[in-house]
């Protein structure tokens, strides 16, 4: 028996082996295979979406961060309100009605358009009046929003200027003179 006869004998011995599975069953099974293949893709897509949601949520300011900003805003407002009060002391002292020659004063009455103006408080702001009232003040002062610059007769007083005037009486005097000049 040579190789060809041997191969033929082996091949012929398997001629009765047949597959009887219908093609419809194979096609149905292939759908299950496709569904199995989709599971990792769906899991990956879900994981990516979840990761994106977590990343966006952590990057955006949440309630805690908002509270921190509000606290910082409130602290800044309190500081500026205190500075305004101190500046008001100086201005009221310098703007008291006095005749010419008296401490370099003026007859004109200085008006402060930003003082009390109903509804000037921005909603949600926690600006409080300083407890220590000025000794010579006769009016209640409600400072406006600290982020807004104050306009006094064509002159803009920035918070930084207000801070400087509150700290230095000399600077406040100079500023008062400038205000009087402007009023004239």
């Amino acid at each position: 028996m040579n190789d060809h006869d041997l191969i033929t004998a082996v091949r012929d011995s398997f001629t009765d082996v047949h597959s009887h599975t219908p093609v419809e069953r194979i096609v149905t099974r292939s759908r299950a295979v496709r569904a199995r293949r989709r599971i990792p893709a769906l899991a990956a897509a879900l994981a990516g979406t979840a990761a994106a949601v977590v990343a966006v949520t952590s990057l955006l300011p949440g309630p805690q961060a908002g509270g921190g900003l509000t606290a910082a805003h409130s602290l800044r407002a309190r500081l500026l309100a205190a500075i305004d009060a101190a500046r008001g002391d100086v201005l009221s002292a310098q703007g008291r009605p006095s005749g010419p020659g008296q401490h370099g004063g003026s007859d004109q009455t200085l008006t402060f358009p930003w003082y009390p103006r109903p509804g000037q408080h921005p909603p949600g702001s926690r600006v409080r009046l300083p407890r220590r009232r000025p000794a010579h003040s006769s009016t209640t002062r409600h400072p406006g929003h600290p982020s807004q610059p104050r306009a006094i007769s064509g002159m803009t007083v920035l918070p930084a200027m207000a801070r400087r005037s509150g700290r230095s009486t000399l600077a406040a005097g100079v500023r008062s003179c400038m205000l009087q000049v402007a009023c004239r």
Binding site: M1, D3, I7, S13, F14, V17, I26, V27
Partner: protein, 170 residues
């Protein structure tokens, strides 16, 4: 999609018997071979766009069936102690050697061959693959395929042909 389905159905009807015989020689059990071939054809149907462009789709199916068999053997090995994949003659579920449609003598001779030689015999005999394609499917060198085929035929001749006939022919 309908044309692809018809194309696959035509391929399935033409190649299912050859693939089943090839896998049967490799695994030694007809029921297992039928299950593996069905799974491999289902995967081929699921990826028919890719498989249809393969130079030998039947070889792809056989390779997939053998890979499925290896995966199942690995899964089963974690659960219970199973014998090595190549020793199919020791498997308790190998009735193909006795009560199958195949000649028991030939089946027993085939099952005594090493796994790689059985695969070479199956691919060369039942799928009519040449040496290069067989080497590509099995992932070995073509010279290794030739060596496995020569050793397998020699072993089969030793088992199937009586000694006195061998002496007479020589």
């Amino acid at each position: 999609v309908g044309a692809q389905r018809l194309d696959f159905a035509e391929f399935y009807r033409g190649a299912r018997d050859e693939c089943l015989r090839t896998v049967l020689v490799s695994v030694g059990d007809q029921d297992t071979a039928q299950e593996l071939v069905d799974e491999a054809f289902a995967r081929a149907c699921a990826s028919w766009r890719k498989v249809s462009r393969h130079p030998a789709p039947a070889a792809w199916v056989v390779r997939t069936a053998l890979n499925v068999n290896i995966s199942r053997w690995r899964r089963r090995r974690r659960e219970v102690s199973v014998p090595d994949l190549g020793t199919v003659k020791d498997l308790p579920t190998a009735p193909g050697a006795t009560d199958g449609p195949v000649d028991p003598r030939i089946m027993a001779a085939l099952l005594q061959l090493p796994a790689r030689q059985r695969q070479v015999i199956a691919l060369r005999l039942f799928l009519d693959l040449d040496t290069g394609r067989t080497a590509e499917v099995l992932g070995v060198a073509p010279s290794m395929v030739k060596a496995h085929l020569a050793r397998a035929l020699a072993a089969l001749r030793d088992h199937l042909v009586p000694t006195h006939e061998q002496e007479r022919s020589s």
